[in-house]
Symmetry: C2
Subunit: 510 residues, 2 copies
């Protein structure tokens, strides 16, 4: 968020005083200044902690790294204990992978700080696991050594999601360090399996609905990005995701393409045809009926899209992509947020190194995913995908074996933006940055937003602090120093604002 603002902290601080003065409701400008000053002074300590967290290779995708994920969860628990929170480390069982391997799940943190019945209780959700990253994938710095270059902090997890988790913790820490009254009661739920589908979390939320969540008023998630590099945003919807593996097996061992090429049905040929049948060159998914349950776009909703500040050229520059599939802002945002998309991620079991190996790989596994939108249903969608691939395969008359697995399924989510949670966050952003945030949705999947809303029936908000060019899931993931520190201030201001909003709600009508 807010990267286009004044470049030096000094300028920003001065501006913030002015901004704060402009808004009558932001009456606690002295308090805010004290908080902002503390955050500015301690920014290098906050970055040092992020560096320590980034150094843990808590990659939840690769089963061999599961111990590092557990270690990272424990480090986060220790950090919350230092903050004064009561921390419960809830052990999880194991999860059976599609290949039959059993994966020991990392524990989940449930923590709380403050129990004042006069104050609202805000629960923060975050995750400390990360996507895989290797230097040789094209990182210019070691992905597990947080490195500052030109005001940007590069490292795996800097934005997704270690940076935002720490920004929230540091915002709380600031009140504690300054011996200020906590504006709200805090709860924390921190997990380590988000990148693979949050195994065990939904069950825990169900179990804790009447306990841990019973006195929670609001749930905040900060696990996504603003839409532009210049303007902050609040997010009220996300797409879901169904991930599939398509395995074609032709025997037990790879074969020499000279000795068997031309006389066998090669598994790669089958797999390429299957993957090639999924989506056309215009990005349209070819699976029959896949668009049937997509919610109809209303005129009112369409208008909401027209008002969003979105710079196509900037987005093109961020992505490095020469041309989008659509030309207008509205088409782009609609296709990113409220229509499904299909991406093919890669193939396991085939030759993938530089050079050439003239092998016929005998067991190849394609990986693809479909970003789902309301009102698509995961199980109906999965059935359509599997049925379609089986139909395509059967027409090939191949003697090979096809296995399609749904590896992960996460529902889309939409929230009501007319509630105190969104109002308080909009005000906090305005106070710190001087800007009204864009009210946006996210094309990516944070399944937990929907899970929280469905199970706990509390208000859920997604409150990003990372900017559109953060490079989540990609090489050279980063969080700018500016966003990391300003994000901490926005969170601190939000605590004050949600307290006020909540207080107004509690007052009897005059």
């Amino acid at each position: 968020m807010a990267e286009g603002l004044s470049k030096t902290i000094l300028t920003i601080s001065v501006m913030l005083v002015l901004e704060a003065g402009r808004y009558p409701l932001a009456s606690s400008s002295g308090l805010e200044n004290q908080v902002f000053q503390y955050i500015d002074v301690h920014q290098n300590e906050f970055i040092k902690t992020l560096k320590e967290w980034v150094a843990v290779e808590s990659d939840s995708i690769q089963p061999r790294l599961s111990q590092e994920v557990t270690r990272m969860v424990e480090i986060a628990g220790d950090k919350l204990r230092v903050l004064g929170a009561t921390v419960r480390i809830v052990k999880q069982g194991s999860h059976k992978l599609p290949d039959g391997q059993s994966l020991l799940l990392p524990p989940i943190i449930l923590a709380e700080l403050g129990k004042d019945p006069q104050k609202p209780t805000v629960c923060f959700y975050g995750h400390v696991d990360v996507q895989p990253a290797k230097k040789e994938d094209g990182w210019k710095t070691d992905p597990y050594t947080l490195t500052e270059i030109d005001g940007n902090l590069y490292g795996r997890g800097a934005t997704d999601n270690k940076g935002p988790v720490l920004a929230w913790i540091h915002a709380v820490e600031t009140f504690r360090a300054l011996k200020l009254d906590m504006p709200v009661n805090f709860k924390f739920i921190i997990e380590g399996m988000e990148e693979v589908g949050s195994f065990g979390l939904e069950e825990l939320i169900e179990e804790e609905k009447q306990r841990f969540f019973s006195d929670v008023d609001y749930i905040v998630i900060s696990d996504n990005l603003s839409l532009s590099k210049r303007k902050p945003a609040l997010t009220y919807g996300t797409r879901g995701n169904i991930c599939f593996s398509v395995e074609v097996q032709g025997g037990e061992k790879d074969l020499h393409s000279g000795s068997f090429g031309g006389i066998i049905h090669e598994p790669m040929t089958d797999l390429i045809a299957l993957l090639g049948s999924l989506v056309d060159s215009a990005g349209r998914i070819l699976i029959p009926g896949i668009y049937d349950d997509v919610a109809v776009l209303t005129e009112e909703e369409k208008k909401l899209y027209e008002s969003i500040d979105f710079d196509l050229e900037e987005h093109k520059n961020i992505s490095g992509v020469k041309k989008f599939l659509y030309d207008t802002k509205e088409e782009i945002l609609l296709n990113l947020w409220r229509y499904p998309s299909l991406s093919i991620h890669g193939i396991e079991g085939a030759f993938h190194e530089p050079g050439i190996k003239t092998v016929i790989p005998i067991r190849v596994i394609g990986k693809f995913s479909i970003r789902q939108v309301p009102d698509m249903d995961i199980s109906i969608g999965a059935r359509k995908v599997i049925q379609y691939l089986e139909d395509v395969f059967s027409k090939r008359n191949s003697p090979n074996t096809l296995k399609v697995h749904m590896l992960m399924g996460a529902m889309p989510w939409v929230a009501d933006i007319n509630n105190p949670l969104y109002t308080a966050a909009r005000r906090a952003i305005k106070i710190v940055s001087g800007q009204d945030p864009d009210m946006i949705r996210d094309g990516a999947t944070i399944p937990i937003a929907r899970t929280f809303q469905n199970i706990t029936e509390k208000h859920v908000m997604m409150f990003p602090i990372g900017a559109a060019d953060a490079g989540e899931h990609a090489q050279n993931e980063k969080m700018s120093r500016h966003n990391y520190i300003q994000g901490t201030k926005v969170f601190a201001t939000f605590f004050l604002e949600i307290a006020k909003q909540h207080e107004q709600l509690q007052e009897p009508p005059t």
Copy 2:
């Protein structure tokens, strides 16, 4: 070869004596027996040497291992020196890889042993580089530790091509150790870049045509397999190979499929469509005109195929494949030997590990190859492939960048089977195994056969000792102890037989 024969060395020795006695031309049965006995007695030493050679990870595909390839070439040079040969280690320059990287080439060995003008000179070609192999690819033993299990010697290079190179050297060594007169003059040309296209070798053969090769009469290559597990073979033709990389690039960095899925032309979607346009489910190559220059099958040639002993079920079992594309022996062999085939090997740059990574890979490189047959022309073929892929791509209206490279091109080869080289080898096989070899072609590519024949204008023969189930280029590559040792005997017998054949040629007609 000859795996279905008697199981114990004792029985074989007895049989060989009988066999040798049966053929009047095999008059030197006493000499042969002496040679066979030496080989039997020293078999464990021969295996020990193979173990030492297999232990060198001389993988020429991965540039990082180029020093190991050079080391392996030097080890082979030392071995030939011990044999008494004069060894020249000819340094090579470097080769520019498609990615711009410069690869230092390993040297090539030119060696000679004996210069008697009364004797024919036989030049043996072999390579000591290997295909990549990793335990985790599915090897049951460490690929670089030669391991004997149930009479089979498992290890990368056991058959392709370290085993046959050593069998030939040990056959020569046997004559030397027994202080027998060498039946022929020997020359050796040993290289370390065969698996990537024998860079530099063709130029060296050109340069040495009037020197090293001037007094060579016959050239023998032992770098392929027999057709069945039971019956030895001699090979008079091979397919060529053109290898391609198809690169689609959409930007500079990988993107998150949630944040960009649905609004960009994904490089993987383009690449999958390109690869999917190459070959149909019946194995037919879809590139227009690719079959134009395939030599017409004559009735005489067709008959040759009918007489070959080829067990479809056995071949199915070797490959582990449930069903071939064709039902008859003739169709299978024709499609394997004298019609082109296309295999897709894999994709570089996409996600290839277990699990799922919901990334949009931004630069993906597909690898495929076409096994060529006479009278296809490499450069015409490559032009057709590139033109076709560019046509398919242009119809997609993708803003991504397409680059198609020919990584390697090797011509097919066919020899005249009515010359002393083939006669001598047939006789040697008959003496050692009691069987007439199948006269076969090979679907795989040993480009050097054609290169030798074209440049030196000498007779070239491919003389395999490995059996059809050797697993070249695949996991669990092996050479049976039986084939390794009997192959050594066959080579030794061949030296005696080619000397006789050559002598008959030199005699004035009576």
